[in-house]
């Protein structure tokens, strides 16, 4: 090997190494927002341009609507959501003592419906459930994610982490293969993010709708050609729980906008 050639190889190795080391220091976490184009960020930043706010508006109406045999609305017990729901979404998924397992925000809303309003649960990804969830989550925008400190959740977080690291599907990929190991790269033109669920439920331009974290997870699982877990499955909640724990301290953006 000639000297110039060897030099360039050394330079390549050095730059390659330094770029990697600079872009992936442990503990540096970035929201999906940081990976977006300025135009998409502008949609999220302006509440009158963010289509997610349409769901929030609907949720505000549903919050006051009386439902079920009990004839109660959310507001009848919880009052003004500005105060009562502030700081709630950053704590979910949370442990439900009756069920003995964690429930996410959608499941909590449905539990409140069945237990207190005596109304049938809302269907996953239905407009009403997404609207109520978006409305509740909106009250915590800018607050730090606070999931992960409850000792009762420990085994479920560990299970979620296991699922996050589990290679599956025809492509034999785990969540971590992309979102831990390759988040600074692109996949078919799209940025691979670090998978911090800071803005759910969020408006995805691809969906042309608001969707839940479970919908996003199912999309990813289908992408690796594995059989997705059903909506409401314990596995999905455990994954949500682990991911929210992993994002502890990051700021809530709900309803976020993503490409």
């Amino acid at each position: 090997m000639s000297l110039p050639c060897a030099r360039s190889l050394v330079a390549l190795l050095l730059t390659g190494f330094s770029v990697h080391a600079a872009e992936n220091p442990p503990g540096e976490r970035r929201s999906g927002y940081d990976f977006m184009a300025p135009d998409t960020r502008a949609i999220q930043d302006d509440d009158t341009a963010n289509p997610g706010m349409l769901w929030v508006l609907d949720g505000g109406v549903l919050w006051k609507r009386k439902e079920g045999n009990a004839g109660k609305s959310c507001a009848d017990c919880h009052g003004d959501a500005d105060n009562s729901m502030k700081g709630v979404a950053p704590r979910y998924p949370a442990f439900d003592k009756t069920l003995g397992r964690p429930v996410d925000l959608e499941q909590r809303i449905n539990l409140e419906r069945t237990r207190h309003q005596e109304a049938p649960p809302l269907v996953y990804e239905s407009r009403d459930l997404l609207a109520l969830t978006a409305f509740v989550a909106r009250q915590s925008r800018g607050m730090a994610i606070a999931v992960g400190d409850d000792p009762e959740l420990k085994p479920f977080i560990a299970k979620g982490q296991e699922l996050f690291m589990l290679r599956q599907g025809q492509l034999n990929l785990a969540c971590s293969n992309c979102h831990d190991d390759n988040w600074d790269k692109r996949l078919a033109g799209s940025a691979i993010t670090q998978a911090h669920p800071t803005g759910y439920p969020l408006y995805r331009l691809e969906w042309q709708s608001v969707g839940s974290l479970q919908r996003r997870l199912r999309g990813c699982i289908t992408g690796i050609r594995a059989q997705p877990y059903d909506y409401g499955a314990v596995e999905l909640v455990e994954l949500e729980l682990f991911m929210m724990t992993r994002a502890q301290g990051m700021k809530m953006e709900s309803p976020a906008v993503r490409p």
């Binding site: 509440d47 009158t48 341009a49 289509p51 609907d58 109406v61 042309q208």
Partner: protein, 106 residues
């Protein structure tokens, strides 16, 4: 539950160029998609949008199937008089929504 989000500045100086932003909740079903059974999903889109400023039409848009769900339209006008903006969306299946906003021009 159709809903519109409107952003009009509450105040402006006469002669100022102001931006008006509107967002309408709508699925904008193209009419080109098929169900799993192969049947066409009927088109359901907003076909027209109109903005009136103190009764006079100042902006009109025709919308087509290629426009994304929840159409967002923004446009600029010169603030002339205090008064009211009226917005109207008309679409398939008898869709019709209105909204309004006031402005004070000094």
């Amino acid at each position: 539950m159709a809903a519109a989000l409107i952003n009009v500045p509450a105040r402006a100086k006469r002669g100022d160029i102001i931006e008006i932003k509107t967002l309408m909740s709508h699925i904008m079903e193209t009419g080109y998609r098929r169900t799993a059974a192969g049947d066409l999903v009927t088109r359901d889109i907003v076909t027209s949008f109109t903005c009136r400023y103190n009764g006079k039409e100042i902006f009109h848009a025709d919308l087509f199937p290629a426009i994304a769900a929840n159409p967002f339209l923004s446009f600029f006008i010169v603030a002339q008089d205090s008064g009211k903006f009226e917005f109207e969306w008309i679409g398939d299946r008898g869709f019709s929504e209105t909204a309004s906003a006031s402005i004070t021009v000094e």
